[in-house]
């Protein structure tokens, strides 16, 4: 096995290249070949009829966040501030309160994500020791007419469901 140096050959000095038309017709053959193939079968064209046809979203896709819940519907988050600490963009703001149902000591009373600041790196998911925050909603387009509505709070984060079932999500490597 070896790495060798290859001196690039310089083209353009031959007679056929100089007379221009011969090579141009050869080039046209390539282009017309594409035209012919596309006329016969246009299924291979790289065109997606968005928004009617959505792009493929895979289990690893880092979409908009959501907060997960226990089976009884209570919030999994224990307000440990790990996601907030690990966030390179500093877009998560948590306020902790006392938890009364005995599942843990703390619970977030506020959990805000500023989606305009978020860089969708997935570091919050990686940092979470409770599997309480995920980015598996499949929402890839976050748009709005005002800044306030892309500042999502705990209710909206809890209300959004994941786009994949548990098995599929785990298969993604989480």
């Amino acid at each position: 096995m070896s790495v060798t140096v290859k001196i690039m050959e310089r083209k353009g000095s031959s007679f056929l290249e100089k007379i221009y038309l011969f090579e141009i017709f050869k080039g046209m053959r390539v282009t017309l070949g594409h035209l012919w193939r596309n006329l016969c079968d246009n299924s291979r064209l790289y065109v997606r009829h968005y928004p009617e046809v959505k792009p493929e979203i895979t289990p690893r896709w880092r979409g908009r966040h959501r907060l997960t819940t226990h089976e009884d519907g209570t919030v999994k988050c224990v307000a440990c501030f790990m996601c907030q600490t690990n966030c390179p963009a500093k877009c998560i703001m948590i306020e902790a309160g006392e938890r009364m149902d005995g599942k843990s000591e703390k619970v977030p009373v506020r959990f805000d994500i500023d989606l305009l600041e978020c860089i969708y790196c997935g570091y919050c998911v990686e940092a979470c020791p409770m599997d309480a925050i995920r980015m598996d909603t499949g929402i890839f387009s976050v748009t709005s007419y005002d800044r306030e509505s892309v500042f999502v709070g705990i209710d909206e984060l809890l209300a959004t469901k994941g786009a994949f079932d548990e098995e599929e999500y785990k298969k993604g490597g989480a």
């Binding site: 096995m1 070896s2 790495v3 060798t4 140096v5 290859k6 001196i7 690039m8 310089r10 083209k11 353009g12 056929l16 290249e17 100089k18 221009y20 090579e23 141009i24 050869k26 080039g27 390539v30 282009t31 594409h34 790289y46 493929e56 895979t58 690893r60 896709w61 880092r62 790990m82 600490t85 690990n86 390179p88 963009a89 860089i119 969708y120 790196c121 997935g122 570091y123 990686e126 940092a127 020791p129 409770m130 599997d131 980015m135 298969k171 993604g172 490597g173 989480a174």
Partner: protein, 571 residues
């Protein structure tokens, strides 16, 4: 660096203290002896450090260990024949008085020293054009000094006319005042950019024209400067990875790999075999993406739109694999210190083979349109020539340097990640014109495909992370179930991966050339200083040499051809 080279260095500089850090030698000298040392290293036949890779400074204001002076200046040099890297360090006692410039030795020192002046406020005595480069001209203070308040937003209210600079350049070219005023030979000034389709981003090219011929040219960069280095100082080592995506965004994963490779080499971590092969496969795949963008955009500039579809369609399709693998199309953030974020997904081999087959087809089709086309030959051959010596002097690396006839490629000359186990060719040009630069990228795509095919056959099974608890996050099952795992997880996230105190430089062959990282660590989990050596910064520094004497239309395709990427140019 081997022992004999080190002995030679010590013999040549008996007064200096020489130490080795990783593969490079560090020579510490006093400012009075700096230029003498640099010039000896460049001109002596034993050393011949013909490439000045980077110039940077360090502000030790908050460094826990006391240093000789608050600032230190570091010149990173490379001898490409013997693959030796040397860093020359000197303390700067008085930044306002400054240190003598090295611009007469290497042309790349011009932009390198300007950046140091801009970011650290260190003056260079005798520098021909000492002004800001990344920050705007109305900026106050020097942002990479440790006492600069990070939240101080400074706005530029007026554009810099750059009249002084272009007139100085004209005078250097021998255009006299009377020529400029004569109605027959009058010079016209024209701005290309900052916001213009040909600039492929935001960059300002100010030209002085005689008819359509460019007589003099000066450039203004920094429109995309967002303070990567300052931001990184306030984040842990792992948190910087998403920011490296935004350096060269055409090949985000390569930056991720280059960054973690630099940190791992200092930590002394030997990553697993599977990770090495994964990194090779992905970095070659992204090298292809980068070249596809470059060639496609370049040929559009030249008027060959059909090529764009053949090349860009395949690039677009490749994002299927990239998003399945990394979870995002553009900002991959796929590596971590000590491994990869995730393993390959099930069935990636088929996807990869499918993509590279299509890319091969697309690139071959485009090559058929271009290779023997006289229009392309007439527009590119002998245009915007960069000679070998000039390219080295301006600090060119990567395809642009190889186009000028220098067979230097880090994958060949300083192999990492088992690159010496692969069978591939490094294409080298002969003239250093636009044609060579274009054709080299075509050839590199085919070579990268060759490497991917070999690596896919050789890739072993196994873990993708090292099992070092100081570096790698514990598996989630341990975090959820065991207190030790949880404590380990908390400690790593809160404090970051701790690196031993010290300074080091490590480099990687990215799509555009040598992507280097100079780190300073104070022993904590956050870098005390990170300096990126972006390949296209120095290539852009030599842009005027290529275009002066050419036509405007040539400057346009030359800009596309050197593949400047605003993200890494301006950081």
């Amino acid at each position: 660096m081997n022992a004999t080279a080190l002995e030679k260095l010590q013999a040549a500089f008996p007064e200096a203290t020489i130490s080795t850090v990783l593969d490079s030698a560090v020579i510490a000298v006093q400012p009075e002896r700096l230029i003498e040392t640099l010039s000896h290293l460049k001109n002596d036949k034993d050393f011949k450090f013909s490439l000045l890779l980077d110039v940077t400074a360090i502000d030790y204001l908050e460094y826990p260990v006391a240093q000789e002076a608050r600032f230190a200046l570091v010149y990173t040099l490379r001898n490409w024949q013997k693959n030796m890297v040397v860093q020359v360090r000197t303390p700067v006692h008085d930044p306002d008085a400054g240190v003598p410039t090295a611009t007469h030795l290497w042309d790349s020192a011009n932009w390198g020293e300007r950046e140091v002046y801009d970011q650290y406020g260190i003056r260079f005595i005798g520098h021909p054009d000492l002004r800001r480069i990344l920050n705007h001209w109305q900026f106050k203070g020097h942002p990479l000094r440790k006492d600069y308040p990070i939240k101080l937003g400074q706005i530029c209210y007026e554009t810099d006319s750059m009249e002084k600079e272009i007139r100085a350049r004209l005078a250097l070219k021998g255009v006299s005042q009377s020529t400029m005023q004569d109605i027959n030979t009058e010079i016209m000034f024209l701005n290309l950019g900052p916001s213009h389709p040909v600039t492929h981003g935001a960059i300002r090219i100010l030209t002085a024209l005689d008819g359509e011929t460019i007589v003099a040219n000066v450039n203004e960069i920094g429109y995309l400067h967002r303070g990567f280095e300052k931001t990184a100082e306030n984040l842990t080592y792992n948190q910087v990875i998403p920011l490296t995506d935004r350096l060269n965004y055409c090949s985000a994963l390569m930056n991720n790999i280059a960054y973690v490779k630099a940190v791992e080499s200092w930590l002394g971590i030997e990553i697993t075999e599977r990770t090495k092969f994964m990194r090779v496969v992905m970095s070659e795949f992204f090298r292809i993406q980068d070249h596809l963008v470059c060639i496609a955009a370049n040929l559009v500039d030249m008027g060959g739109l059909t090529n764009y579809w053949y090349l860009y369609n395949e690039k677009e399709a490749s994002y299927d694999l990239i998003s399945r693998l990394t979870g995002a199309r553009l900002t991959s953030s796929f590596t971590r210190i000590g491994g990869m974020y995730r393993d390959f997904y099930e069935g990636w081999e088929a996807d990869m083979e499918n993509h590279i087959k299509n890319i091969e087809k697309g690139v071959s089709d485009s090559y058929k349109l271009v290779a023997q086309n006289r229009i392309v030959h007439d527009r590119t051959q002998g245009v915007c020539v960069m000679s070998k010596d000039l390219a080295l002097s301006y600090g060119f690396t990567g395809p642009c340097l190889r186009a000028s006839g220098v067979p230097f490629d880090l994958r060949k000359d300083a192999p990492y990640y088992n690159y010496d186990a692969f069978d591939f060719e490094v294409p080298v040009g002969t003239k250093g014109d636009l044609y060579d630069r274009l054709m080299i990228r075509y050839e590199e795509i085919f070579q990268s495909i060759k490497i991917i095919r070999q690596a896919m056959k050789m890739i072993p099974e196994g873990p993708i992370f090292v099992s070092d608890h100081r570096v790698a996050l514990p598996p989630k099952s341990q975090v959820y179930g065991k207190i030790e795992g949880l404590a380990n997880h908390f400690k790593l996230i809160f404090e970051g991966v701790k690196t031993p105190p010290g300074e080091w430089y490590d480099s990687f062959e990215a799509a555009n050339g040598e992507l280097g990282f100079h780190f300073v660590s104070d022993g904590s989990g956050r870098p005390y200083k990170v300096k990126v050596r972006p390949p296209c910064f120095y290539i852009m520094g030599g842009f005027h040499e290529m275009v002066e004497g050419s036509m405007i239309a040539d400057a346009v395709i030359n800009l596309g051809c050197i593949n400047i990427i605003g993200g890494e140019l301006d950081r």
